[in-house]
């Protein structure tokens, strides 16, 4: 249980302002601990009228739509004042993958240049190394990475350095004869100070929307509607109190 300061106790009873329905930033209450959260709510509202490239995908393919939503999510949350994306999972996958490819290439080249009988020990070593790396990749992406699409970090200064970390997983939900296929987001949020030693806030959220809410019949993604929804969910999880 995080220690509740006087300020936290005082502000927890206030109603946090949410973005107005027409998308304009909320009114700013007097500066206190809630100010950091209010600024984020302002950031989480999509910028109206911004010129953007159209995102068009094949709306018969659930995978394509899921990827388009994931990319829009990453773009939205990686904006300069919002989260900074942590690429660890991608980097591990790239490192293991390219290492295994290089080992395969080197083994193939060696086996081609050197006569068969002579090359056998080295080729055995190469093949075994490749198999081990491939198994490592599979285990990593199945158990550790799982459905995670975005891991972000944010540092703000509010009398002390506050670090926020958000992990987002997304799943496509299959369609039934009654409902269209959907997009299920699950977020985990942690706010801490003093380099992670003091827990200030924790939050979890899960929400699902059918793809029909964001894609029209041509397959164009309505980025504003999507970002409004994502901003709403993220804002709610960030407003969570310390447990």
């Amino acid at each position: 249980m995080a220690p509740r300061t006087r300020k936290a106790a005082a502000s927890s009873s206030q109603d946090y302002p949410h973005p107005q329905s027409d998308g304009s930033p909320p009114e700013v209450p007097p500066k206190d601990q809630t100010s950091a959260v209010v600024d984020v709510d302002a950031l989480l509202a999509p910028v109206p009228g911004e010129e953007r490239e159209e995102v068009k995908v094949n709306n018969a393919s659930v995978t394509d739509m899921k990827h388009a939503c994931d990319d829009a999510l990453k773009r939205f949350l990686s904006r300069p004042d919002l989260f900074k994306q942590i690429h660890t999972h991608t980097d591990v996958r790239l490192a293991l993958g390219w290492l295994s490819v290089l080992i395969a290439g080197a083994t193939g080249l060696y086996g081609w240049k050197v006569p068969f009988e002579q090359s056998k020990p080295a080729v055995w070593a190469g093949v075994i190394a490749y198999v081990v790396l491939t198994i490592a990749q599979t285990l990593y992406s199945y158990f550790i990475e799982g459905d995670i699409v975005f891991v972000g970090k944010r540092k703000t200064f509010d009398k002390r350095i506050v670090t926020e970390r958000i992990t987002i997983t997304s799943r496509p939900t299959p369609s039934t004869p009654q409902t269209p296929p959907g997009y299920a987001l699950a977020l985990t949020y942690v706010r801490s100070a003093a380099g992670g030693k003091t827990l200030l806030g924790k939050g979890r959220a899960q929400e699902e929307r059918p793809f029909t809410a964001f894609f029209d019949e041509r397959g164009v993604l309505d980025q504003d509607a999507f970002e409004r929804w994502v901003g709403d969910v993220v804002g709610r999880v960030m407003d969570g109190k310390a447990q």
């Binding site: 490239e53 996958r93 490819v101 083994t107 190469g126 491939t134």
Partner: protein, 189 residues
């Protein structure tokens, strides 16, 4: 033609492009490793070969796929179908063993127990040929174990025509590779 996909690639950044290229390259790498692994397990440098000529008809026709092993602990016997390569010729030949001659090494009067230690000289002939293979040996009188790539264990008819087509028309090979590459770069799992 691929305007949408190119736009997506440009928007998604370096890491994404690296991931997509990795998709393609790892398909090739896994194919290569499966081939090399199979070669190690069967103890032959070329575990799967394609029949190019009609010299083994009616057993094997042109375009058949052959599966080879090279057992170190068994001697080759008359009647085995072997694939051998003469040093100096690039194409391996599939023919049947006609004669074998064993030379147990005479080590102070004792004969070695393991058949592997024994030297073997082989003479081969294609089933559909009138004469044996002496002419093909390019000066050698006998084939030795070291010239043999492997012994045929099984075969699949007709499948080898794909390889023959790709060898005779290299454009087909590049087209296939190019198509695979394009698919791997554009698709996302």
């Amino acid at each position: 033609m691929f305007a949408d996909e190119l736009k997506t690639l440009r928007r998604l950044g370096v890491r994404h492009v690296l991931l997509q290229v990795l998709n393609f390259v790892s398909v090739l790498a896994s194919g290569l490793m499966i081939w090399k692994g199979l070669g190690l397990v069967t103890n032959t440098e070329s575990p799967i070969v394609v029949v190019l000529s009609g010299s083994m008809e009616p057993a094997f026709y042109r375009g058949d796929l052959l599966f080879l092993t090279n057992p170190t602990d068994a001697r080759y016997q008359t009647g085995d179908i072997t694939v051998y390569k003469i040093p100096g010729a690039d194409i391996p030949i599939v023919h049947r063993v006609l004669e074998t001659h064993d030379f147990p090494p005479n080590n102070k009067g004792a004969v070695a127990a393991s058949p592997l230690v024994q030297k073997q000289y082989l003479l081969t002939k294609g089933d559909n040929n009138a004469i044996d293979d002496i002419e093909l040996y390019q000066g050698l009188e006998w084939l030795e174990r070291k010239h043999i790539v492997g012994k045929v264990r099984g075969f699949l008819p007709y499948v080898g025509y794909v390889t023959i087509a790709m060898n005779d028309f290299p454009q087909l090979k590049y087209a296939l590779l190019g198509g695979l590459g394009l698919l791997a770069l554009i698709q996302r799992e």
